[in-house]
Symmetry: C2
Subunit: 288 residues, 2 copies
């Protein structure tokens, strides 16, 4: 039976660390400060931004949700972002997506200056990642960073490991492949056009599923004798409307060594990474 690698204890440990760091930073007169821009009232976005605020306040950081009307003019939107970018009291700036149609041509990741880009998708941050940075200079994309935190917690050394990442998105697949390559893993990046996917996954030590298809990976993709580690990045609904991942948890649980559950796995780590990025950003800005 596979061990379940749950986010809760990892998250708790990081939250404790961040709380202490915030407390230390406050003593030095610097309270990490995140501004979240929310345009309109898209219900999931309202929930996501609320969760971010709750998380940041819980660790002792400040977080303000700046609500803009659905029909905010582009120049007004850009003006607000520019002001916050220049405000030395603001350490992190996050624009909640999706934006309304009239704004969605804007490459939001490039508007926020790299040192405040707690989301980790500014060209400069991805460039540093590509160059081999492990987060010392760059702010890393949150979900890939969260996956690395989970592997680290579980004491899984990537050095020399064969990893198959399924899904080549900018949010997960591509940056995670680079991060894992930098950590000395041999990464095969698979996707919808991959031929012989099962052959790839069967030879892997670690499989990361970021496909977006409910329960796509079952035991036929695995090599039970290999003690494989399965990381599930999917957030889908099954035929009964129940939340599930890209991995068929029930089917694989006898055939792998370690498995991240959905819910309660990778999904919970993204906000934790955002908190780490905010505290790192505040520290670095204070030091400069």
């Amino acid at each position: 039976m596979a061990t379940l690698l749950k986010a809760a204890p990892i998250s708790q440990q990081i939250v404790d660390d961040l709380t202490e760091e915030c407390s230390n930073l406050k003593k030095k007169g610097c309270t990490p400060n995140l501004k979240v821009i929310l345009v309109g009232e898209h219900p999931p976005s309202v929930i996501y931004t609320r969760n971010k605020k709750k998380f940041m306040e819980n660790i002792g950081a400040e977080c303000e949700i700046i609500k803009l009307p659905q029909d905010v003019k582009e120049d007004e939107f850009l003006k607000i972002i520019n002001e916050l970018s220049e405000d030395a009291k603001v350490h992190g700036l996050f624009v909640q997506l999706p934006l309304p149609k009239h704004l969605d041509h804007i490459d939001v990741g490039q508007l926020v200056p790299p040192q405040k880009d707690v989301d980790g998708f500014h060209a400069q941050n991805l460039y540093q990642l590509m160059k081999g940075d492990k987060g010392d200079k760059a702010l890393l994309p949150c979900t890939p960073k969260g996956i690395m935190s989970m592997l680290d917690y579980a004491d899984i050394d990537l050095n020399g490991k064969n990893v198959v990442v399924i899904g080549r998105s900018m949010i997960v697949g591509k940056p995670l492949s680079l991060l894992m390559t930098n950590a000395n893993a041999t990464v095969t990046l698979c996707h919808s056009r991959t031929k012989g996917l099962k052959k790839e996954t069967q030879k892997a030590d670690i499989i990361v599923a970021a496909i977006g298809k409910a329960k796509f990976i079952d035991s036929s993709f695995l090599s039970p004798q290999k003690d494989q580690v399965l990381i599930d990045v999917g957030i889908n609904h099954d035929e009964n409307g129940k939340l599930c991942g890209d991995i068929n948890e029930e089917d694989v649980s006898q055939s792998c060594a370690l498995l991240t559950p959905v819910p309660g796995g990778v999904g919970k780590m993204t906000i934790v990474s955002l908190g780490q990025n905010l505290v790192a950003a505040a520290k670095r800005q204070m030091e400069n």
Copy 2:
């Protein structure tokens, strides 16, 4: 016996195209213009920059080598780059590496504005590449771009192919992996810490060797029944001081379908890509 995929006919075809494009651009009052900054008199650098000038003039572009003394002051060096960056008559700007010690802390790729970065290593260009751009917006890194030109000329469709890239450098391995992923190949990025390299290469349709070890890849890395394509990026010297690649050409030639030679292969394509980038940069700057 493997077919040799030589650069010469590919280069010639691209040179013909570029010559025509330069001629058309000139008629519109825009002669593609490259400035190459050469600091000091490092002999290989002198040769490289001279070759660039020759190539650009051959296609009908302008190219000036700006020679700066070995002990040029940092602020003077930066001032010259800034002036050229802002000069609308200059379409491409290239700083020949290596720089002298007192300047080598400068991240040169980020000094040149992305639209003039014919070398293709500005964060913005790599970001576009990561996002899936195939060179329509971005200027792509020259060696990876040259490899894609060779595969294209040889009518090798990457869609669904298994590619093993050996070497994870910023110059070749990482950007090439992304380019090939964008072209729907399934890429495994191998490196010095990879375990079981032969297993990886034996299952590949295409192997790219960018290792920097003379004749490292021999027939024991191959699967003769697979009709494998071998791309050799290495430029080394063998035990007799003779130029050779990362692939043992003699040993593999009975065991693969197609092979790029060294010399006369990938190495010759880098400057061709630089020419393509310069002409593309001139066109885009003229249109804006």
